[in-house]
Amino acid sequence: MQDVAARVGATDLFVLYRVADRRLVNVDGHGRGAGWAGNIDLDPAAEGWLEEVEKRGLARVSYGMPRRVFGPYWATESVGVATDDCLVVFGGPGTAEAPEDVVREAAALAASSVGEVPVAKRLADDLEVTQAALEIARMRPRSVDDAARAIATTAARATSCEFGAVLLFGPPMTLHLADEGWRPSASEEEIAAALLPLAQALSDGLFVEQDTSETAFPYRPLTFEDGLVARCAVRLGEERDMGVLVVAHSLETPRGFTMLCQRVMRTIGDTAQATLSALLDGGAVREGGVEPPRA
C-alpha cells in the first residue's frame, strides 16, 4: 500500500470497502489509513464529500488548511476514486493536483490488493482498549480530585488528544484538566461553563463531534475558533450522574475520533466511574496524590 500511496504522492491512503449499501469500512491503507484500519465505519450518505466521490467517480478537495474530509480524517488536500467495491481516498499535500490517470490506476491497484483487516491488527486494537482500562483500574488515588485529574490525563493520552478534562458535578462542582497538552486561554469557570451543555447532550452515554466547525455547541472557549477541531465526551456514572469526561483534538494535529478511540473512551468511562464511585462511597478526601500504578 505504501508504494500505491507513493504513486499519488499521498501520505495517507484509505481503502473504504462497501460492505453494504450504506456502509463503508476502512479495511486497509497507508499512513492513517493503515493505523485506522478496521476502525472507520461510515454511512456515505452522511458524508458529503464521499457521496460526491461516489456520484462523480472522482472528486478532489483542496482547502488551503486542514479540514475534515470524511469521518475522523482531516487533511489539507485529498482525492477520492470510486471503484466497483470500494472508495479509495488519497490524502496529503499535492494529492488534489495528481493527474487523473495516475490516481485512477493507483486506486484500482489499492482496491484489488485489499484483504481483511489482519488479526494481529485487531488484537493490537483490543489490547489498546484493555490497556487504557487497566491504567485507570490500577490507579490508587487518595482523593476524588486526583483520580479525576489522572482520568483526564490517561484519556487524553490513550486517544492521542491534546485536551482532556473531567467535570464532576459535585457538589461542589469541580473541573480537572489533564496534566499535559493544549488548553484554551480561559478561566476554569469558562471551560466548565462550556462543558456543561455538552454534558447534557450525552443521551446514549457517548458524544462525538468529528468537526467542531459544524457544532450545535458553539460555546467559547471550546470552539473551532479557539483551536479545538473535534471532541468526544463520555458520561461518568450510569445511575448516579457524576460528571463528564471530555477529550479533544486541537488544530495542532487536526483529526477526529475513530471507532477505536470511541471504544477506548467508553471503556475508560466505565472504569473511571467505578473508580470514582468507590472513592465517593468510601468518603475519600478531595486532596492528595495518586499512587503510581502497580508494576
Partner: protein, 421 residues
C-alpha cells in the same frame, strides 16, 4: 517544570462538603408527579459558575440553561431574543438538553419558530400551537418571557416528556437577563469595532483608488498637452481640436470626480448613483479618444447606440480603466476592440485585446484590491478593483474571459429606458 495542578472548586455557592441536597417532590394540577432534584448538580452552583464565566456570556447562558434543564428534567431548553437588534424573526442565542443537536445552529430562527415565539410574547401559546421539530415531539412545554432594554425580549422555552416546573425558569431568569444584556453589549461592541475597522479600510482603499483613478485622466490630459506642445506645426487642425476636446473632457471628468469625492466625504460612502440618459456609443468614443491620447495604439469601436439610464461618470471611469489596460497590454500592431450591444434587459460592453491576459494564479482574485500580476511590475492592483466597484454601483457586473488568444473584459449593465420613452 510541570504545569500547576488544576483542581479547584467552581461556582460561588457555599455548600458543606458531603452535604446532599434533598430532592423535592411536587404535584401539579394534572396529578402527575415530577421531581426537582439538585442532588447531582445544583442550580445555584451552576448559575454562580455561569456568572463567573461572564467574559463568555453566551457560554454562561448555555450553562444556566443546562442546569435548568437538568433541574427540570427537560429534554430541551433554549433562549431566544426577539426585537431590538435581533433578526426580524428572532434569534436563538443558546440551547441545552439531550436533544440540543436536533435543534440546528444558533442564530436567526425560521418562520414557524418565530410564530411560536410571538405567541409566547402575547401569552397565546397552548399545547395545540404548531411547534416545529423537535419541540413538537415533546408533549410538556413551558416558557418564560422577560423584557429586555431597547424593545427586545428574552423568551426561554423548555420541553420534555414529563411535566416541567416553570418555577425553575423563574429562578434563573434574573441571571439570564444579566448574561444576555452583557452578551448584547459585548457583541454590539465587537460589531462596532469591526465596522470601524471596515470603514478605515474602505477609507484607505478609497484614497488609493481615487489616486489611481485621477491618474488615468491626468495621463490623457498630459499626453494631449505634450503632443500639442511638441509638434504644433505637424498637427492638422482637426486633430488639434480633437486633442483639445480630450483635454476639456478629461478635465471635466476630473472635476466631476473631485466633486463626487467631496460629496462622498460629506455624505458618507453611499453617494447615490445619478442616472441620466446615456448614449453608449458616445461614451465609448469619448473614452477611446482619451485612452488613445494617453497610450497611443489602435481601437476599433463597434458599439450599438441604444441610450439607456446610467450614471455616466461611473460608466466612463469603469470603461476607461478597461480600455486603458487593454491598450497597455495589447502587443504592438494589434487592435483593441470595444464592442457594445443590448441583449434582453442588459447592455454589455466588451473590451478585448490580444495581450497575454491575467496570470492564472491571480485570476480568481483579480477584482480584489491590491491584487497584481506577479509577472508585471507596473500595476497598483486597484484598476480592476475600481472597475468592479463602479460596475457594482451601477447594478451590473464585470467578468473576464480568455479564449482564442483574446483577453475579454465585459461590463454587463441593467438596461433601463428613460421614463416615458
Amino acid at each position: 517544570m510541570g504545569r500547576p495542578r488544576m483542581t479547584r472548586r467552581l461556582g460561588g455557592s457555599e455548600r458543606l462538603r458531603g452535604a446532599r441536597a434533598v430532592p423535592i417532590s411536587f404535584r401539579v394540577g394534572s396529578g402527575k408527579a415530577f421531581r426537582v432534584s439538585d442532588e447531582s448538580l445544583g442550580l445555584e452552583e451552576g448559575v454562580a459558575l455561569a456568572l463567573r464565566a461572564v467574559r463568555q456570556p453566551r457560554t454562561g447562558v448555555a450553562a444556566v440553561l443546562s442546569v435548568a434543564a437538568r433541574a427540570m428534567g427537560a429534554d430541551l431548553v433554549a433562549a431566544y431574543v426577539l426585537g431590538g437588534s435581533a433578526d426580524r424573526l428572532g434569534e436563538m442565542i443558546a440551547s441545552a438538553g439531550p436533544l440540543t443537536s436536533e435543534l440546528g445552529p444558533l442564530g436567526p430562527v425560521d418562520e414557524q419558530t418565530s410564530s411560536v415565539l410571538q405567541g409566547c410574547l402575547q401569552d397565546a401559546v397552548s399545547e395545540d400551537s404548531l411547534f416545529p421539530e423537535p419541540w413538537s415531539r415533546l408533549p410538556r412545554r413551558v416558557h418564560l418571557v422577560d423584557r429586555l432594554p431597547l424593545g427586545a425580549a428574552l423568551v426561554v422555552l423548555a420541553a420534555g416528556k414529563d411535566p416541567l416546573d416553570r418555577e425553575v425558569l423563574r429562578r434563573v431568569i434574573g441571571p439570564l437577563d444579566l448574561l444576555v444584556a452583557t452578551m448584547t453589549v459585548m457583541e454590539r461592541q465587537e460589531r462596532l469595532e469591526q465596522e470601524l475597522l471596515r470603514l478605515r479600510q474602505d477609507q484607505a482603499l478609497l484614497a488609493a483608488g481615487l489616486q489611481h483613478d485621477l491618474r488615468t485622466p491626468l495621463t490623457s490630459i498630459l499626453g494631449a498637452a505634450h503632443t500639442l506642445r511638441d509638434r504644433p506645426a505637424r498637427i492638422p487642425p482637426e486633430q488639434r481640436s480633437e486633442l483639445l476636446e480630450v483635454i476639456a473632457a478629461q478635465a471635466n471628468r476630473l472635476n466631476d470626480m473631485i466633486g463626487e469625492t467631496l460629496a462622498r466625504h460629506a455624505a458618507g460612502p453611499d453617494v447615490p448613483v445619478r442616472a441620466v440618459l446615456v448614449d453608449p456609443l458616445l461614451v465609448a468614443r469619448r473614452v477611446c479618444r482619451a485612452a488613445r491620447s494617453a497610450r497611443g495604439g489602435d481601437v476599433a469601436i463597434d458599439v450599438e447606440s441604444r441610450p439607456f439610464l446610467c450614471d455616466e461618470s461611473r460608466l466612463e471611469r469603469a470603461l476607461l480603466n478597461l480600455v486603458d489596460n487593454a491598450l497597455k497590454y495589447a502587443p504592438d500592431g494589434t487592435e483593441v476592440q470595444v464592442i457594445g450591444s443590448k441583449a434582453g434587459e442588459t447592455y454589455t460592453f466588451t473590451v478585448a485585446d490580444a495581450g497575454p491576459g491575467v496570470a492564472p494564479e491571480v485570476a480568481a482574485a483579480m477584482f480584489s484590491p491590491y491584487v497584481t500580476d506577479p509577472s508585471r511590475d507596473d500595476g497598483t492592483g486597484l484598476g480592476l478593483h475600481s472597475v468592479a466597484h463602479l460596475t457594482e454601483e451601477l447594478g451590473g457586473k464585470v467578468s473576464y474571459a480568455r479564449a482564442s488568444g483574446w483577453t475579454r473584459f465585459s461590463l454587463s449593465l441593467p438596461w433601463r429606458e428613460a421614463d416615458g420613452a
